[in-house]
Subunit: 320 residues, 2 copies
């Protein structure tokens, strides 16, 4: 039966996941202004940049400067993505980064090879190395993502058992190391999830490991993002990655064979939560202004919806 | 508990609701090609045009020619919108129109005044006149829409009681006239619905009148369209109006105070149904091609999602 959470925590990946795929570099002050606007609206966690190979992702090459320029809002966490120890060491040099231990595993080998250039077994071995690296720097392992947890453009349907194997590996390793269990984030990297597969996978993880906190990282490739979040909310899931304005998707992208599409849209999902009576700590009207700023920066219409129609707040004053 | 329907019937309003708001007139052969492509994909009902004041809606002024040009597919219904007896008489002159009796009532007076230039009481009186007109021409009353059934930009929140009053009026009139009850379509004209209000209103109508068939006409102004359809599907609702590619919304529209936004996107919702195991009779890949044609006609990116990422069919062959 429905079991809505009292509150939900959004981690906005727009400034990183959105800008990294842009075909031009947007001015640093404008990207910083966007990060500050998202924070000012009350979004508690923002992925502000990444420390990755600047040849592969040139738009993120100035991430250290971005972090240094942000006027940080007390209570907001400004996170950075790192995919290897080199990147993490880079991030460690930047005092403004709020470090958190986050590692990716893969339910499908094909996506691991394409995205991480290694097998999923190798990704598991690296999880151990990451925990040791984090320990060395006193950073807690907070999150383990299981990527391609709902399907894979390289392998097709992904069996539930393959998802559970990665979850089990994580739990076993943490228990062996006497470490607090991280949150498990089921990642729908390629937009395969539907409300039933959300329920099936969240249920399976919860049944096997009731003590695990579960989060979702969803991409809205096929229009089911909102339905998936609604299904998850009714199971009490309260951690979602999302993206301001749905930034990251590109309506001009070629048809098919496009892996990256925008994350679920932060402000649309905040609107969903508020309509369902779930707290987010976010001012929706202020977040809509941030989404409009994001649209202005990229210079094309974003896929977010409520940003274009406005919230219901002003209309509701009509009915007292 | 979830009670998914075995099959769902989509009525695509894109060729009417989409093109009527375009700021230029698109060539008739292209619009006819789109209607034919939607039909070829298996969509059972298509609103192909309207017979309304050509000064107010110039883009629909050639609806008679559109209907005359369509190569009709057996089994598909090609419907037309008429808002007054004059329009209906016009439509009667066009042999290719598949007539069906459809009348609009309003849960809020403010939207009725704005949209229909009369009070909602007057709209009710006109329902009786419509039934007499339909009888005269041997057209069955199939559908009564209750507009602004979830909220109103002119009046704010709309009480459930105001929705139920329109439903009751319809049922009472039909019983008085010894007429089969039409389907009641709850219409979220301005994008106020959320999954809980969907449940609340569908539940209320069903409890009061278990014999009524219920349909939904939803606009996806605020990103909750898919979640609302999912909630409705789990209540067994099987009639939805929708729009190819989400046609009708315009990402370039000014922020706020914009009433029209696209209907829920047909092919995204077909994808949802298929993933949930619900039959639609529609070939999703063919429908995606139709959506791409719609995008090509209007010359700007449409808001549909699966049309840009492609269906999962080809990827699923990878997993056998």
């Amino acid at each position: 039966m429905p079991d809505l959470p009292k509150s939900v925590i959004f981690h906005d990946h727009g400034p990183r996941e959105g800008f990294q795929i842009e075909d031009r570099h947007h001015p640093l002050p404008r990207r910083v202004a966007l990060i500050e606007a998202i924070a000012a609206a009350g979004v508690p966690r923002i992925q502000a940049g990444s420390f990755v190979n600047p040849k592969l992702v040139p738009n993120m090459a100035d991430s250290a400067e971005v972090f240094a320029a942000i006027k940080k809002r007390p209570g907001t966490r400004y996170t950075a993505l790192a995919l290897n120890p080199w990147g993490f060491e880079q991030a460690l040099q930047v005092p403004q980064v709020d470090h958190y231990g986050s590692v990716v595993l893969y339910a499908s080998n094909g996506f691991c090879l394409s995205n991480n250039n290694c097998t999923k077994q190798e990704a598991r071995r690296r999880l151990r190395q990451w925990t040791e690296l984090y320990d060395k720097h006193d950073v807690a392992l907070e999150q383990v993502y299981v990527l391609s947890a709902f399907g894979c453009n390289f392998e097709g349907d992904v069996p539930l058992a393959d998802v559970m194997e990665e979850v089990r590996h994580t739990v076993d390793l943490c228990r062996e190391q006497g470490r607090a269990l991280p949150r498990i984030d089921l990642d729908d990297s390629m937009g395969w999830a539907d409300p039933h597969s959300i329920r099936q996978r969240v249920d399976a993880v919860r049944e096997a490991y009731p003590e695990l906190e579960i989060g979702l990282h969803l991409h809205d490739n096929r229009g089911l993002g909102g339905a998936c979040v609604f299904a998850a909310l009714e199971m009490g899931v309260r951690h979602f990655d999302s993206s301001i304005g749905g930034l990251g998707g590109c309506p001009f992208a070629p048809h098919k064979n496009r892996i990256a599409a925008g994350n679920i849209c932060t402000e649309d999902m905040v609107h969903l939560c508020h309509e369902l009576g779930i707290e987010t700590g976010i001012d929706l009207d202020a977040l809509i202004e941030a989404a409009l700023l994001a649209e202005d920066i990229v210079g094309r219409p974003l896929m977010g919806r409520v940003m274009h129609s406005g919230s219901l707040a002003e209309y509701r004053t009509l009915s007292g």
